[in-house]
Symmetry: C2
Subunit: 679 residues, 2 copies
């Protein structure tokens, strides 16, 4: 007796023998090959497309004849006629095995396909969606065997999909009967599982085959802005991204001022909760409109945010986060329905997932960075800093991951800087100072020209030159240090001491003039001694946090540094290191991860496996609380100098000469924040 | 070496040896003895009270010395001083075993104690509450090991109570931190499990030891009235009962008129849902106020109701229930939180349980009757009828249970009766007609005297005599039949034919005068031919339903009949049988079960085991749909005669002589609802 035909699937390599006439989809399922199907093999969803290969495959030891699969049947022909099948493609549920065959499953036919991220890093997201569609044919009601429509739907799912123990969202009950009848007892249901073993929950259904797709939102809920990525839950593709200001700003610019608003104003936390939920509703409606999709198709939302935003989103008074021991109300990952979270632009049964918080100062946003950047999978020791109003810092390699948060304050974002402003057209974002002439040149947002290039004045006439943004002030301070205008203690030298007329007296200190726009009615843009102090405080906090993690890990250097956060993308590694923001490493070992928190949110949105992974990771992370570590103060003081009072920075010194100057009249170089004189 | 002391618990008889010094509570737990404790053995909740017995116990073969338990320690002494311990009682967590001892666990110290029902039947409810209290001491937050308050609470519950996998209701999150701190990290939590294996869900918590108890509502949601029993979830005792009219009456008196309101008015089902939920809120607030408890302590509610009420409570359009095949949207038992069901007087996390529906016409109320009356555990064949606007009928014994619903209409409730009214003061509720004189006497609600007794006029002067309620009309028709005023076909005889001047002509038919109050400005109360027809239709439907179940079961008699429903309590078995409402059985085999649906709701409220039992029972019940059974019409027509055209009623005839009269001019006795003449 001849053997059954051999069926080999690529790229998985899974193989098995099946009787002549077995549909390819059936063979794939029995072998556990990742081949998608929404309609369950009825030839209507087209998700199970495969490509047979013909000829000799010495690698597999088979010859595939031209008639290895059955001829196109009427279902496939109709499908091809109406919607078109790519050349060489077949529907896996219709084509049957006739003889030995090699069958390729293209990426778009795989449930667990890999989606390449847009961002620079080359990591891919493996799709493992929590919400999936199932087309199902339900038995009609029978008076002689009276069961509910829900129960017959559950039975059909069990029989046709081996999906058992169906739960139905309460908000679905009122529409269930109408949809079943409208679809003539054929419906597509969206089932959500909060984890692989959880009961499947019916969160949406449509009559017949639903072809408009389902979507999710990955939301990075920041103190200042709320950014959302509308993502196709089937393909993982980002359809549209959009952002909105966090309206809580009216209650306080930074986190601690919002906490104190809640402390000082009874019900203040409820006001802030209502404000942020309303903004999320607005953002949801806007992004759906922009993408041209029905917001009713957005069935999942993932949030990443810092602990204060986390608590205010949940309606929890953040007061405990404002005082030691900084206790979170809840730290694990959370699951809600949209209605439970008071979000009204999403369909009520839509599922919400919030990543776990690492500690009272290290939130779900830091967890998302860890998910995106995977310090725990790094072979070399990686320091990841997400720079914002607070800096979240992760240090890790395959042996261990540590995390802390450091209160950098808003100076890095241009706040508390005399000429500071948010990143917007007209803001100076880059600056260079000639070490010989000590003359500056700069670039402003909205214009690609440097200020000493022809046409700059014309090109910036519209926006003007309005101030310095975060990356601009970091570059300015670093360039001043490299040009010898600033000594290691952070003192700006006088015109006499520096030889630059741009060093202007300002009371008992000096300021450096970058641009005088007063003749044209614009501002005079200077870097003052106060600006330097503000940047020194911020960078010292950041460096001290990193050093604290290094101490805990028992190392005094790291192998590489990753700058995350939207802001991180704009910081020049060289300038960051001259400033001493980050530990000394070779400059080519400093990379930018872009918006890693947002990427982490997208990964969690697309993958249950990723959620499980980050939940386990967060439990294992070593948490370091900077506020109570005596060594933090010590590191903070030592980091006040530019780049550092005691740490040597040998890699930096290989590429950047730093002038040995001292502008302190007393000459002790202690400087720092204290305005005292000795001797 | 001497053996460890022997500890014997009564009434369980469980025994074991324990080292000297073992607390009684510890011994009880290790033996699986049902001994309550909320505080976990800290000597503050007093739930673990036990009574040691002393002397010789030949049955157990032990002698118990006076010092078999340790002396009262300071904790017990303080407790006794402050709150008082009954004589002989000890705190099981403080008293330790010193030598052989027999220990009685009084009922009030058992979690699974049995609660005797107030109603006539002698069944008891075994407490197995879904929601229980746990006193727990939670670790304070630690900056060096930052976990959320929720996670530390979960850990404490796991360590102190072996309660794992805590879920927290979203509405609890905002209060968690404040309560933990107010209680100085000692709190009482209320944990709910929807079934024995479900994850425990935190639905309420209080600082310190919570001593005000927790409560539940058992709600019988009827078409006309909504009745609620406020029940102590610890003891099972009914604290207060209260009722309210179902405001949906303004959309239609009976179920089908409400279904048609929803069909005719877009959004009509939403109006009715809002109305009933608002009424439940009012009832909840009222009953809590009446009982003097905080409505925030009502942590569970159980609903029983017919399918139309069920769907309207859930916000489901009931239109499918108004037409074949009478498909329920969902038939299984349901679990919600109060907020999911839009109930606002209950605390948002309060749990709702709705009993399963049996079929499109046989609702959760019938399931509740089955739970209360347990036909499936009856050794003899029991017919249980719950008489209301629809009659729910159950037939069962240990071998099998069948159920159907029959459309009796509201005649049994006094509606559609010319002098009919609801049961209220002034309504005739009982009536007797002298077979010799054919003169009536009667009793009205609000007065214990019969109308021919001295003082009746004075006693009823306040209320007047205003009409006939449901039980009154049934008695009136049966008495008329027994007195020879009515023939088997249901025709009222003329004054000449009957010899009674009270038989007054009314068009082409006659009516029987019960009371003429017109002289005093009151109504003239008669039973008209139309009234007889209405009662005949209702009773025929009821009897036909019962017969259909008997057919399906293959029997032509039953062993006993149970009349359930608030109305059932007022029907005299003899009159019901003369009327032919129920099959012929010995009169002493007809019993009343009172409000069995309400009792079933109470049982489900107090016991997870009972919920599991009724869910399993409902799945096994044989459902019979009366609307589509050809035999139903046949039985209906035959049952039109009083008591019946063909069924012999031998038991009835043993005790009640029924005159053989015929008032049909044609003399064929066919009568019935058809006003035709033959011959």
């Amino acid at each position: 007796m001849a053997q059954d035909p051999l069926v080999i699937f690529t790229p998985s390599g899974k193989r098995g023998r099946f009787p002549v006439g077995t549909p390819v989809l059936t063979a794939a399922r029995q072998l556990g090959v990742d081949l998608d199907s929404v309609c369950g093999g009825r030839g209507i969803c087209s998700k199970c497309q495969i490509t047979p290969s013909y000829g000799d495959f010495s690698k597999h030891g088979v010859h595939v004849a031209q008639d290895a699969l059955s001829e196109c049947n009427s279902v496939e022909e109709r499908y091809d006629r109406v919607r078109g099948l790519k050349t060489g493609r077949r529907l896996g549920c219709q084509a049957t095995v006739q003889s030995d065959v090699v069958i390729d499953v293209p990426p778009e036919s795989q449930v667990h396909r890999q989606v390449v991220r847009k961002a620079a890093a080359d990591r891919v997201i493996e799709m493992d969606p929590a919400t999936r569609l199932f087309y199902v044919e339900v038995a009609e009601p029978d008076m002689h065997d009276p069961t509910g429509d829900q129960q017959r739907l559950a039975k059909a799912l069990s029989e046709q999909w081996e999906v058992d123990d169906l739960e139905v969202d309460p908000k679905i009950l009122p529409v269930l009967q109408k949809v079943l009848r409208k679809g003539d007892w054929k419906v597509t249901v969206a089932l959500h599982r909060s984890h692989a073993e959880a009961r499947p929950r019916l969160i949406a259904l449509w009559p017949g085959l639903h072809e408009a797709g389902i979507f999710g939102l990955a939301i990075d809920l920041g103190s200042t802005t709320i950014a959302a990525h509308l993502t196709n839950l089937d393909t993982g593709a980002v359809v549209t991204s959009a952002g909105i200001m966090n309206p809580q700003i009216r209650f306080g610019e930074d986190l601690m001022s919002r906490v104190s608003y809640a402390m000082m104003n009874p019900g203040g936390e409820r006001e802030m909760t209502a404000a942020v939920r309303e903004a999320i509703d607005t953002l949801t409606a806007d992004i759906a409109k922009e993408a041209g999709i029905d917001a009713g198709l957005i069935l999942e939302t993932v949030f990443v945010c810092n602990p204060v935003m986390h608590h205010l989103l949940l309606g929890i008074d953040p007061v405990e986060l404002g005082q030691a021991p900084f206790a979170l109300a809840t730290s694990d990952a959370l699951h809600f329905s949209a209605v439970e979270l008071g979000l009204t632009a999403l369909p009520a049964p839509a599922r919400i997932y919030i990543l776990p918080c690492i500690a009272g100062h290290v939130g779900a946003d830091a967890a998302a960075v860890a998910l995106a950047e995977q310090p725990g999978k790094s072979e070399d020791l990686a320091l990841i800093v997400d720079v914002g109003t607070n800096a979240e810092i992760l240090l890790g390699d395959t042996s261990r991951t540590l995390a802390c948060s450091s209160p950098t304050g808003p100076a890095f974002e241009g706040a508390q800087i005399s000429s500071g402003q948010r990143a917007a057209p007209g803001a100076i974002e880059a600056i260079r100072i000639d070490p010989a002439t000590r003359e500056p040149r700069f670039r402003v947002i909205g214009c690609d020209l440097w200020s000493d290039e022809d046409g700059f004045a014309d090109a910036t006439a519209q926006t003007g030159i309005t101030g310095i943004c975060g990356s601009g002030i970091i570059e300015a301070v670093a360039e001043m240090r490299m040009a010898g205008l600033l000594d290691p203690s952070g003192l700006i030298g006088s015109a006499e001491a520096t030889g630059s007329e741009r060093c202007l007296p300002a009371g008992r200190t000096h300021e450096y003039l970058i641009h005088d726009g007063t003749a044209g009615g614009g501002p005079k843009i200077t870097v003052t001694q106060g600006d330097i102090r503000a940047i020194q405080l911020a960078k010292s906090a950041l460096y001290a946090g990193a050093r604290l993690l290094m101490d805990t890990r028992g190392v005094d250097k790291v192998d590489r540094v990753v700058l995350a956060g939207a802001f991180g993308a704009h910081i020049s590694p060289k300038h960051a290191m001259v400033l001493g923001m980050i530990p000394d490493v070779p400059l080519d070992k400093v990379t930018s991860a872009g918006n890693a928190a947002g990427t982490g949110a997208r990964i969690a949105l697309c993958s249950l496996k990723a959620r499980r992974e980050i939940e386990a990771t967060v439990r294992r992370i070593t948490k370091v609380e900077t506020a109570i570590e005596p060594k933090f103060q010590e590191h903070f003081v030592a980091a006040n100098a530019i780049p550092h009072a005691t740490d040597p920075f040998p890699e930096l010194k290989k590429v950047v000469p730093l002038p040995q100057v001292c502008f302190n009249a007393g000459g002790d170089g202690s400087g720092g924040g204290r305005r005292r004189r000795r001797g």
